[in-house]
């Protein structure tokens, strides 16, 4: 699958206005997003990918897993696991440990997301990259651990989702988990938190607390030039429609680099 996207950013003060504009533009109420993003770093050496027996047992999702495995064995990447959460799953600030909701990521359905380094800027006025998204899977943390992936860290993504035709518009910001709330196996090796810190303790990842607007369109195959053009045109139409409101741009592709650096 190929993802075409453009990004813009706004300040926190402009968020209510942006929500109203997007609500009117997409003729829908915003769909709230609140999810954990767990980052797992692939091994630089002895990268053997995902267990082939596991892949073959995935039924209809075998092609997806196989595509993912091909990419992960080619290069060490940072892979993201997404888990939807609710505000109720954040403990109160002064709640004792025993009252904090336990969240075992391997026991709930999650989404595995991998994105490649975007293609070099060419004639196409939008960012485009290869991506694989596998939804509704349990035991993803175990799977990555068994594939020699190392848990790198976690942030919380908060935002809203809108749909306009074939374009999905996300208005999101990232919240960082303070170091004191990050559970560690030992010094220097974090592990996946079993419970979330209080919501109030989360810190905006961006120092200016900016919100990111991403307009994204998915194309099944990058070889299908007709639909690549269609996706690009729809994104450019969105860009034109928001001219003067949001400055959608095609960013430097290295901002979105997910490869593990040697």
């Amino acid at each position: 699958m190929h993802e075409l996207f453009l990004t813009a950013h706004i300040s926190d003060d402009d968020r209510p206005g942006a929500l109203r504009i997007l609500q009117g533009y997409c003729a829908m109420s915003p769909v709230p997003i609140l999810r954990r993003r767990l980052y797992w770093k692939g091994p630089l050496t002895r990268n053997r990918g995902i267990d082939s027996a596991f892949i073959m047992a995935q039924g209809q999702k075998v092609p997806l897993w196989r595509t993912l495995n091909e990419q992960l064995t080619r290069q060490a990447y940072i892979v993201t696991l997404l888990y939807d959460i609710t505000r109720d799953q954040f403990p109160k600030p002064d709640a004792p440990d025993e009252e904090k909701p336990i969240m075992d990521c391997d026991a709930i359905h999650g989404t595995l997301q991998w994105t490649d380094l975007p293609d070099p800027a060419g004639a196409r006025p939008v960012n485009s990259r290869l991506s694989v998204t596998i939804e509704g899977e349990k035991g993803l943390c175990n799977l990555l651990e068994s594939s020699s992936y190392r848990f790198h860290g976690e942030i919380v993504e908060e935002g809203y989702r809108f749909v306009h035709g074939n374009v999905v518009i996300y208005l999101t910001r990232y919240l960082d988990i303070p170091a004191k709330f990050q559970e560690m196996e030992y010094e220097g090796k974090p592990k996946v938190n079993r419970s979330m810190p209080p919501y109030e303790s989360l810190q905006p990842f961006d120092s200016e607390n900016k919100w990111i607007i991403t307009a994204s369109s998915q194309v099944l195959s990058a070889n299908d030039l007709e639909y690549m053009k269609k996706g690009t045109d729809e994104l450019m139409e969105v860009k034109t429609d928001f001219e003067g409101f949001f400055d959608f741009q095609s960013r430097d592709r290295h901002i979105f680099d997910t490869r593990v650096k040697t």
Binding site: A27, R161, V163, Q218, V219, D224
Partner: protein, 676 residues
């Protein structure tokens, strides 16, 4: 030349001399005299002499010597001065002559237009060569006849015109003011109505093609593109300020989907069709009518689309009407009628059915719109060559499913009500009963909004669970489920309870069957088996040499679960009697009914063989036939439309019919079978 005014500026100054002392030149002196004395008019010889004398007296003392010197010097210069003065005079004369000649040339040229011959005699040769004759002329102009009185009159006329125009201006301004005032009133009225439309929840916006015109969106945002694009009308202003709805090229004729019910004898019901809005109705009523019309137009189009896919279910689209079977003798007829020329039909018996169907169709289209919204706001599938299907909305499909479901329920009741009546009349204890329960889907639908959950619970997964309690050892469970996709397919899941019931071996439930007739037959058969099982004892081994008659003979089960066997005499040598239980539909006197029959007969030497004789014998057929001793039957009959169970039968050699009330109990009949 008399017309030249007095103040005409002609200078007759002397030609300036360039020789000698300029201060003593004649032009200078003449100028000096004019400046000091105002011209020669005020200077004469006498006054000059007096002035000189006065001046001489003043300068007598210090001027004596100077005078003497002057006299001495003046004497030799006198001649010279005279000559000089003569020259000056001649120059002045020459100067005057030249000017005179210029004047002559001017006058000659002026006269040359009227008297060229005479003028040519006086004009200078230079001018004649330079300018053609007649190039300068003069005419006498009539003196003005405008008198002071005329001038005064003109002033009055001008003042009158001015007043008249001022009055006109004032009138025009007043007219403009009143027109503006009226325009303001009209505009205020228009905008008040626009505001009222907006405040009542209608979306008011500018027309895409006429930016200066306001429009109202009266349609539905989730309708198909054709109808969504037609759902915008202009709010135009009448001359009196009222609003009228301009729908452009779209038809403004109000329309409505009418539902009628037709039976074998003719039309027996119709839905209520609203009356058309009057032309002078409030704007909101007209917007509502436009909304209803576009909704019904879309409903009609979607019904036609769907009807084409439901031909196998008897749905037909023909001659601007759609027909759909409602029951074996009733049909739904749908058509799109214009409200303008519609006259309401008188009330009829099935109006409420038509009204309900009409309401259901409108609700289902709204539900389809809601589904469109859900689809639109979900994350879209990746762009690819695969085209998303656009199936027709489910409008008639839920109706057909619901009708089938209701039909199934009716069939269940039609079977079980007489069945329980018959079984109750056999004095079974406890009396058999059945219960119908509808599994709640509230938990499954709790995530949906209440409106959608209500609609979905009415149209999808129509389920009923039937529990038929026959005996304490046997319950039949029937679960029916009517699905929307595939259309109107009802499944029947038959199971037996309790789990350790003897029926599981004798009369295994078939599980899921797809036709009511199969479930119907199984229920009758299983009931027969359950009744037989309630009188069966476990098979006992009769000791050798013991006479069966002397032993405790019991009814034993056979390989056919609805037939019991009782062996008389030694096992394998004596005759056995078979007791058969059967439940079946039958028809008598053109009336359908249900019959439970218990029959018994001897099976000489051949065990477990049951000829069709008594089982197939109808009550009428039994009359006049001889019954072998020890054989007989009894049956409980309930005809359709009757509430009283009739019992009848015969037993023994030459046995007589026993018919009527009181009806024998099943236990009594079995005892009769045992005694015979």
């Amino acid at each position: 030349m008399s017309s030249i005014p007095d103040g005409f500026p002609i200078s007759l100054q002397s030609w300036p001399s360039t020789e000698g002392d300029p201060k003593k030149s004649l032009p200078f002196m003449i100028q000096r005299i004019r400046d000091e004395r105002g011209g020669f008019l005020n200077a004469n010889e006498e006054s000059l002499r007096r002035e000189i004398a006065e001046a001489g007296a003043d300068d007598e003392d210090d001027g004596t010597s100077e005078e003497e010197d002057d006299e001495e010097e003046e004497k030799p210069d006198r001649q010279k001065e005279l000559m000089k003065a003569r020259e000056e005079m001649l120059a002045q004369i020459e100067y005057a002559h030249q000017h005179t000649m210029f004047a002559l040339d001017f006058v000659s040229l002026l006269l040359s237009k009227d008297q060229p011959t005479q003028a040519s005699m006086t004009i200078s040769p230079f001018l004649r060569e330079t300018l053609p004759l007649g190039t300068l002329g003069a005419d006498k102009i009539h003196a003005s006849k405008v008198t002071d009185a005329v001038k005064e009159d003109n002033k009055h006329v001008a003042k009158g015109f001015k007043i008249q125009n001022l009055n006109k201006t004032v009138d025009s301004i007043l007219a403009s003011a009143s027109r503006l005032e009226k325009e303001i009133e009209v505009e205020t009225k228009y905008w008040e109505q626009v505001l009222a439309v907006s405040e009542n929840g209608w979306a008011v916006c500018r027309l895409p093609n006429e930016k200066q015109t306001l429009g109202v969106r009266f349609g539905f945002s989730e309708a198909s593109a054709t109808f969504r694009n037609r759902s915008l009308a202009a709010l135009r202003r009448e001359p009196d300020g009222s609003i009228y709805l301009d729908q452009g090229i779209a038809t403004a004729e109000p329309q409505y989907v009418r539902v009628r019910i037709q039976s074998n004898i003719g039309e027996c019901g119709s839905s209520t069709v609203p009356s058309a809005t009057a032309d002078d109705a409030p704007i909101e009523a007209r917007i509502q009518q436009a909304r209803n019309t576009i909704f019904d137009t879309e409903l009609w189009q979607e019904l036609n689309r769907e009807a084409r896919t439901l031909a196998s279910f008897g749905v037909r689209s023909k001659d601007d009407t759609i027909t759909c079977p409602l029951s074996p003798n009733k049909t739904i007829i749908l058509d799109l009628v214009s409200l303008d020329d519609y006259s309401p039909a008188p009330p009829r018996s099935d109006d409420y059915i038509a009204e309900g169907i009409s309401l259901a169709l409108h609700l289902l289209l709204s539900y389809a719109h809601r589904q469109n919204f859900h689809r639109r706001t979900q994350t879209p599938a990746p762009l690819s060559a695969y085209k998303r299907p656009n199936p027709p909305y489910a409008l008639l499909r839920p109706l057909i499913s619901r009708v089938n479901h209701q039909s199934t329920l009716s069939s269940i009741h039609a079977l079980l009500v007489p069945l329980c009546s018959i079984l109750t009349s056999t004095s079974l204890s406890p009396p058999p009963t059945y219960t119908l329960t509808k599994p709640s889907r509230l938990e499954q639908l709790s995530k949906l909004p209440p409106t959608e959950a209500t609609i979905l619970s009415l149209i999808d997964h129509l389920q009923v669970q039937l529990t038929l309690s026959l005996t304490p050892a046997c319950n039949i469970i029937l679960k029916t489920r009517t699905l929307l996709f595939p259309l109107a397919n009802t499944n029947f899941n038959l199971t037996l309870e309790p789990a350790d019931s003897f029926m599981h071996e004798a009369c295994r439930a078939p599980g899921v069957v797809d036709h009511w007739r199969k479930a119907h037959d199984y229920i009758l058969f299983a009931t027969s088996c359950a009744l037989a099982g309630s009188f069966a004892s476990p098979p006992t081994k009769v000791p050798e040499g013991e006479n069966g008659a002397g032993g405790a003979a019991r009814w034993e089960a056979t390989t056919r679960p609805h037939v019991l066997r009782r062996v008389q005499g030694q096992t394998g040598q004596g005759k056995s009697k078979h007791l058969s239980f059967s439940l079946e539909d039958f028809t008598a006197s053109q009336k359908k009914g249900l019959r439970l029959r218990v029959s018994w007969e001897w099976m000489g030497g051949v065990l477990e063989h049951m000829p069709g004789g008594l089982d197939s014998r109808s009550p009428g057929a039994g009359r006049g036939k001889k019954v072998v001793k020890g054989e007989g039957f009894y049956e409980w009959v309930l005809l359709e439309g009757e509430s009283q169970v009739v019992g009848r039968g015969m037993a023994g050699e030459g046995g007589a019919w026993v018919e009527g009330v009181p009806v024998k109990s099943l236990k009594e009949v079995v005892e009769i079978a045992e005694r015979d």
